[in-house]
């Protein structure tokens, strides 16, 4: 007993206990080290790298947008900006004192800059878009400033301006970094990836205070690709100038052999530079608050009732379905009675007996009331779909409107009611709920003249190389000949005879689509006496020359009045330019661009 007590109090025994504790604690330490440096090493290495490595993008030069004849529509211009690195309050004050001798910076701006400095961003932009005068003044005093430098960035510029605003669209600087441009509309948006190129980056090592120590690695950016449009800039400008005489409208010119869009204009237009380079508040309100909506591309993003132009589709459907033969005649008394309502022909005196050609030539409504009644809405819609209406044409522009082909199903889904017979008749003359974009109408005519439903418009050069029409989609040429002949007669002795009877030969169809029901006191009233917003839309689609057609033109004038009186003369001018005036330099330039 005593021995054991003695041993327990012995210094050697107690030292042994302590040494064992020491060994145990050492083992714990090794285990802790193992957990940090072996088990979780990857996690901590990642955190360590995250601490010190900063990744900054290098923005590539954005690709240009060029027309087929070499005119630059969108490009980049070099701009200088004054940048200050992260600094303390004293350095900031001293810098600002010198800078304000060269630049006019308001007290408010100076205060907000100081606020930005306090937020400890790596750098702050003192002033963007320095003028040459400011640039040279600043260069003189730059050596006195601490951590201040002038850097250059590229900003997006549209040298031509409003003529191409709806095609090229616009790109604006991102809110995070104004030098990174993103396409917001038009080709800029559609081909954003291609135009932007690939971002490079620069990896820098920073210390605990965020100061750059060295560059670790960098990846060079890939410059954005240029986009070549199918547009002919001279034609585009000519169409723009011609159409500018109207308040609002759109025009599309297609090359029949390739589907290339040679011109596409929407009136009114806007200056895309406002969006890419910044604008004042009043400019913003002017553009966005404009009742005429200049930002909308009326040729593609808006659909309208096609009016009499739709009669081409109905006539083609009737021929294909064997509803009517070209010689069959229908009597037009100036109106047709259905149930208790009377549906008038535009000519209330009546056209008398009409065959298909005459009905198209004089755009007789009664004739088409009758044959659309015989066809029924389902068959009409089927042929309209075949000719490209009711769905996007696939043009290389964003937010294309698909138009509207009303069907029984659509009526039920939207109104919860059944389809009424009179609605078929209204659809037969392109009124009612039926809607189409001017581009769709041009494409529709293109499909008829190309004789194949594979015809479709394109805006980017060489996009559809080697694309051949599928023989399965060929339209029946016997029926097409009848339609083409009728459309030719429209321009020689029909509704468009006054403006479109030319030597080279135009064939086409006019359209005046009502936007509201005509009240009894308005019957026969001149369009100029009706308020602008209730006037008819004026439309014309045409093809020239005859016989070997090369160009399709669609003209749409919003609330223009009459297709024959307003839209057809504009189309005539466009055809004249295309086929009669051919400036020699234009030819050579186009050949260059093609090579």
């Amino acid at each position: 007993m005593f021995d054991q007590q003695d041993r327990k109090n012995d210094i050697k025994f107690r030292a042994k206990v302590i040494f064992e504790i020491i060994l145990a604690l050492s083992t714990i330490s090794v285990i802790n080290l193992y957990r940090l440096q072996i088990s979780n090493a990857d996690k901590y290495l990642l955190m360590s790298n995250k601490n010190r490595i900063r990744l900054a993008p290098i923005v590539p030069r954005r690709g240009r947008i060029v027309t087929a004849d070499g005119e630059i529509v969108a490009t980049n211009i070099c701009q200088y900006k004054l940048v200050m690195e992260r600094s303390d309050a004293k350095t900031f004050r001293e810098n600002m004192k010198i800078i304000r001798q060269c630049l006019t910076i308001s007290e408010e701006d100076a205060a907000s800059l100081n606020e930005a400095r306090r937020k400890k961003y790596p750098f702050i932009i003192v002033k963007d878009r320095l003028s040459w005068e400011e640039y040279s003044k600043l260069s003189m005093v730059l050596f006195k400033l601490n951590g201040v430098s002038i850097t250059n960035t590229y900003s997006r510029n549209y040298p031509v301006g409003p003529e191409f605003a709806h095609i090229a669209g616009y790109a604006s600087g991102s809110s995070r970094d104004a030098s990174i441009y993103n396409g917001k509309s038009g080709i800029e948006h559609y081909a954003n990836e291609q135009l932007r190129g690939k971002f490079g980056n620069i990896q820098t090592e920073v210390n605990a205070t965020g100061k750059r120590v060295k560059i670790i690695d960098s990846l060079e950016p890939t410059v954005g690709e240029d986009i070549i449009l199918t547009i002919d800039s001279r034609l585009q400008k000519y169409v723009y100038d011609t159409l500018s005489l109207e308040r609002a409208g759109a025009a599309v010119v297609l090359d029949l052999s390739s589907g290339e869009v040679l011109a596409m204009v929407s009136i009114p237009s806007f200056d895309p530079n406002l969006f890419s380079q910044g604008m004042t508040k009043t400019q913003w309100q002017e553009v966005t608050g404009n009742p005429m909506f200049p930002l909308i591309n009326r040729a593609v993003n808006c659909s309208y009732p096609p009016g009499s132009i739709f009669k081409i589709v109905v006539a083609f459907a009737a021929l294909c379905e064997g509803i009517i033969s070209p010689k069959d005649r229908i009597y037009c008394s100036g109106g047709i009675k259905l149930e208790d309502r009377v549906f008038h022909c535009w000519n209330r005196a009546g056209h008398g007996y009409m065959n298909l050609t005459d009905a198209l030539r004089f755009s007789c409504d009664c004739y088409f009331f009758e044959i659309s009644r015989r066809l029924g809405i389902d068959r009409i819609v089927g042929y309209a779909e075949k000719l490209g209406l009711g769905s996007e044409t696939g043009l290389e522009l964003p937010t294309e409107n698909s138009g509207l082909l009303p069907t029984r199903r659509w009526k039920f889904l939207h109104y919860g009611t059944t389809w009424k017979p009179y609605e078929t008749m209204l659809a037969g003359i392109g009124q009612g709920a039926l809607l189409a974009t001017p581009l769709q109408l041009a494409t529709m005519l293109g499909k008829i003249y190309a004789g194949n439903t594979d015809f479709s418009p394109t805006l980017i050069k060489n996009q559809r190389k080697n694309k051949k029409f599928d023989i399965k989609n060929t339209l029946d040429s016997r029926h097409l000949t009848i339609i083409k002949d009728a459309l030719r007669q429209v321009c020689t002795s029909g509704t468009a005879a006054r403006s479109c009877n030319t030597d080279y030969g135009i064939s086409g169809k006019t359209g005046s689509s009502q936007v509201k029901k005509i009240k009894s006191h308005e019957v026969g009233m001149s369009q100029s006496r009706i308020p602008w917003k209730w006037r008819d839309h004026a439309l014309f689609v045409g093809c020239a020359p005859v016989p070997n057609s090369r160009y399709v033109v669609a003209v749409f004038v919003e609330h223009g009045g009459g297709g024959a009186s307003v839209a057809a003369p504009i189309a005539r001018k466009i055809f004249d330019w295309l086929l009669l005036t051919t400036p020699p330099e234009k030819k050579s330039q186009r050949q260059d661009a093609n090579e």
Binding site: D6, K8, N9, D10, I11, K12, R14, A15, I18, F19, I22, L23, L25, S26, S29, V30, N32, L33, Y34, L36, Q37, I38, N40, A41, K43, Y44, L45, M47, S48, N49, N51, R52, E205, V206, N207, A208, T209, V213
Partner: protein
């Protein structure tokens, strides 16, 4: 090897040489890889420390037996001087300015306490040791400097002083049951000590319990230290390649966090090597103690070994986030003169003790 040194000292010299080499490399790296200013100062301290160590060895070990109380009294007086007229650095009053250098008496206090307690217990018989009454003076010896150091404030040193004192009292043969009872009641009463802590000490302990509490303050330091150690992996990022220390993400990379700096650059291998070197040094101290003939030298060597290990354990646990950050230097490796000199003196004392054994045995 100097033939005046005892043969067994070879182990100690080899270990010490490796530790001092690591110490120099660590400081060289932590100061940005430049052989000037602070790095040279550290090298100078190593040399001065080695000279002091030899000086201590040459003094007859019996001198320390006689000198122990005087030494304790002198250091205790210095601590009071610090309390009355100390130099304030980083918000703590720990240094006395001696005009040509500043001196931190709390470092040699650990040494003085061990010597004084060894001196006190050496003549006591087994019977006397078993009387609780005879332990009154050692407890006072321990508590008085602990209170003074806590007032500086320096929680880490105070804890280490208290721990060293306790171990000495335990070693001396304090009745086991009573000892266990006291420790147990102390652990129970510990939470009440909370009210006597300074705000910054409370913060450190709270941050230790919940590192997310203060991610940009103390929690940030612990996290950055863990990142640095962890990113070292098995073999380290390479000498002078530690990004956490080079880019100033690490706090106090020369002093309390020197182990982190070394672990980042030399990895798990380097960290374990340092731990093993300290363990070897500590084992050597224990071995000399167990072979010593006099109770004074036994107690002194055990005490010094325990103190050395406590420093190492608390320091590396602290930088790994296992213990709260309390400001304990890593022996020989941390930048700082007082710590370096006092651990060199420890080594000198142990060599002297081992020499005394040899002289007696031959």
């Amino acid at each position: 090897m100097n033939k005046n040194f005892p043969n067994e000292c070879k182990i100690l010299f080899a270990t010490l040489f490796l530790l001092l080499l690591m110490s120099f490399l660590g400081q060289y790296s932590a100061f940005g890889g430049q052989l000037e200013g602070s790095t040279l100062q550290h090298a100078g301290r190593i040399v001065i420390g080695l000279v002091v160590m030899c000086g201590v060895y040459t003094v007859n070990f019996r001198f320390w037996n006689n000198f122990a109380y005087l030494f304790y009294a002198f250091i205790f007086a210095s601590l009071i001087a610090v309390d009355l007229a100390g130099t304030v650095k980083l918000g703590a009053k720990r240094w006395v300015d001696l005009y040509f250098f500043t001196f931190q008496p709390s470092e040699p206090m650990k040494l003085a306490l061990i010597l004084a307690l060894a001196r006190y217990y050496s003549p006591l018989s087994q019977f006397e040791v078993e009387q609780l009454r005879s332990h009154t003076l050692p407890v006072l010896f321990t508590i008085l400097p602990v209170v003074l150091v806590l007032r500086q404030p320096d929680l880490g040193t105070a804890v280490l002083l208290a721990a060293a004192g306790c171990c000495m009292i335990f070693l001396s043969g304090f009745p086991l049951k009573t000892f266990v009872a006291i420790i147990a009641s102390f652990v129970v009463l510990c939470p009440f000590g909370w009210f006597f802590l300074h705000d910054y000490q409370k913060n450190r302990i709270l941050t230790f319990i919940d590192p997310d509490r203060d991610q940009l303050g103390m929690g940030y330091h612990i996290l950055q230290s863990k990142i640095a150690i962890g990113s070292g992996r098995l073999w380290g990022r390479g000498f002078l390649q530690g990004t956490q220390s080079k880019l100033d993400f690490l706090p106090e990379k020369n002093t309390d966090f020197i182990f982190t700096t070394i672990s980042e650059e030399f990895g798990f291998a380097g960290a374990v090597l340092i731990l093993l070197l300290f363990l070897a040094l500590c084992s050597y101290f224990f071995w000399v103690a167990s072979e010593s003939r006099t109770k004074f030298s036994k107690l002194t060597c055990y005490g010094l070994g325990i103190s050395l290990f406590l420093h190492v354990f608390v320091n590396i646990s602290m930088v790994m986030g296992v213990l709260p950050v309390v400001g304990v230097p890593l022996p020989f490796l941390s930048y700082g003169g007082s710590s370096m000199i006092s651990f060199m003196i420890s080594c000198g004392l142990v060599i002297a003790a081992s020499g005394q054994k040899r002289v007696v045995s031959t």
